[in-house]
């Protein structure tokens, strides 16, 4: 960093820039207050004051141009945390980016007013602030991406739960109704969840109901047979129910060998078969 710029920044720092705090609230009010209702006036005032105090710290640091300094890191963290907060409240990343840009203009304008220096005539200072704010916008985007990733992971975990609703319907009998499209990744999820559950519950019989499955391809049908085989290898028996005519036709045309697989027309037939294997008799109560 050149000496001249450092001196200019120091000169700015020596100003009583605490006075400009109200001016910096304007971008916050425009982007997070009024219609969007993401923050109230008190929060916006606190936000502006915190930003200003961090900026003062940076400008007053040994080397204000050092992107690895603690002061700059604190400023980055401020924007990352703001980004998280706005996204959590239902705001959009564009609003945080626009706020950051407006904050830059407001800061420059306020400093110009306070110092009486026209920054359009002092390109080095203008360049300094632009590069600082560019980095801060990057911090906003990084926080946005982190938040998106976290949301996606949570959604995936939820999907995994709902994609494999395994229920122990009777002691030693597990049911797994599969609804929707079975693709390879979902079939692998089903396999993992089901085999772990068989081991955990010591299930004797597993009934897999495919009534809600409309489409199946070659790879998935092989995976299905693999699930049945793996369940049998663990010492349980597997029953597949509710194979729709289109699925049955697809399995035959794909040359899938169903000879070692017990199938039943409906889930209730599958349960009856499971009970029969376990020696359980379900009957109407005598009137």
């Amino acid at each position: 960093m050149n000496q001249k710029l450092s001196e200019k920044l120091s000169a700015l720092f020596s100003l009583k820039i605490g006075n400009i705090s109200p001016l910096l609230e304007e971008p916050g009010k425009i982007h997070f207050g009024s219609d969007s209702n993401l923050m109230d006036d008190d929060e916006i005032a606190d936000l502006s004051a915190e930003f200003l105090s961090l900026m003062v710290e940076l400008l007053g640091s040994k080397n204000p141009d050092d992107r690895k300094s603690l002061e700059f890191h604190a400023l980055e963290m401020f924007f990352a945390s703001l980004s998280h907060k706005i996204l959590m409240r239902g705001g959009r990343v564009e609003e945080v980016v626009r706020y950051t840009q407006f904050l830059q203009y407001a800061l420059i304008e306020a400093l110009e007013k306070d110092s009486g220096i026209l920054f359009t005539e002092s390109r080095s200072v203008l360049h300094y602030f632009t590069s600082i704010f560019n980095e801060l916008i990057m911090a906003v985007f990084r926080a946005y991406l982190e938040e998106r990733e976290r949301v996606l992971e949570a959604q995936e975990a939820e999907l995994r739960e709902t994609a494999t609703p395994i229920t122990e319907i009777w002691d030693g009998v597990l049911t797994l109704p599969i609804i929707g499209t079975l693709d390879s990744s979902r079939t692998m999820l089903v396999m993992e969840a089901l085999l772990n559950r068989v081991a955990k519950d010591h299930a004797d019989v597993v009934v897999m109901d495919l009534t809600g499955v409309q489409n199946i391809d070659s790879q998935v049908s092989h995976h299905l047979i693999q699930i049945v085989r793996a369940v049998q290898l663990m010492g349980s028996s597997a029953i597949i129910t509710g194979i729709q005519p289109e699925i049955a036709r697809a399995l035959i045309s794909l040359n899938i060998d169903l000879s070692g697989v017990t199938t039943r027309a409906s889930l209730s037939d599958g349960l009856k078969e499971a009970f029969r294997r376990l020696g359980i008799q379900v009957s109407h109560k005598a009137s």
Binding site: V198, H202, D204, I227, R229, M234, G235, G260
Partner: protein, 118 residues
């Protein structure tokens, strides 16, 4: 005594085989002869092979299990693999085409438990 091979009588005609990591399955012929000899001597009709410690069954291990199961069938002993882990079942189901030459069960039925080491 063969390292890695623990054979325990668990009933009048049943035995439990618990292999440990030191079991050298490359020494297949010697192992099979030893196990078959013990079972014949004890007039066993059933051998439970415990797979609880095995996280993965690859083609080499499957070949060993198959060889032992076929030998057991030759001396009229049922071989039942128990406690197969989900990961092992997954790996095995990926490469075998039909039914394996051994039976599988979740656990040993309660009727067998009175065991003493052989």
């Amino acid at each position: 005594m063969i390292p890695g091979l623990h054979l325990t009588r668990i009933g009048r005609e049943a035995f439990l085989l618990e292999p440990s990591r030191s079991l050298n399955i490359r020494d297949e012929a010697r192992l099979v002869e030893h196990i078959a000899g013990k079972l014949q001597q004890a007039k066993a009709s059933c051998l439970y092979y415990d797979l609880a410690e095995l996280a993965l069954i690859d083609p080499v291990y499957y070949a060993w299990l198959s060889a032992l199961a076929r030998t057991m069938a030759a001396i009229n002993v049922r071989m039942i693999c128990i406690h197969m882990q989900p990961t092992a079942a997954f790996s095995l189901s990926g490469f075998i085409a039909g039914n394996p030459p051994f039976e599988t069960a979740l656990d040993i039925p309660d009727v067998h438990f009175t065991g003493s080491p052989v």
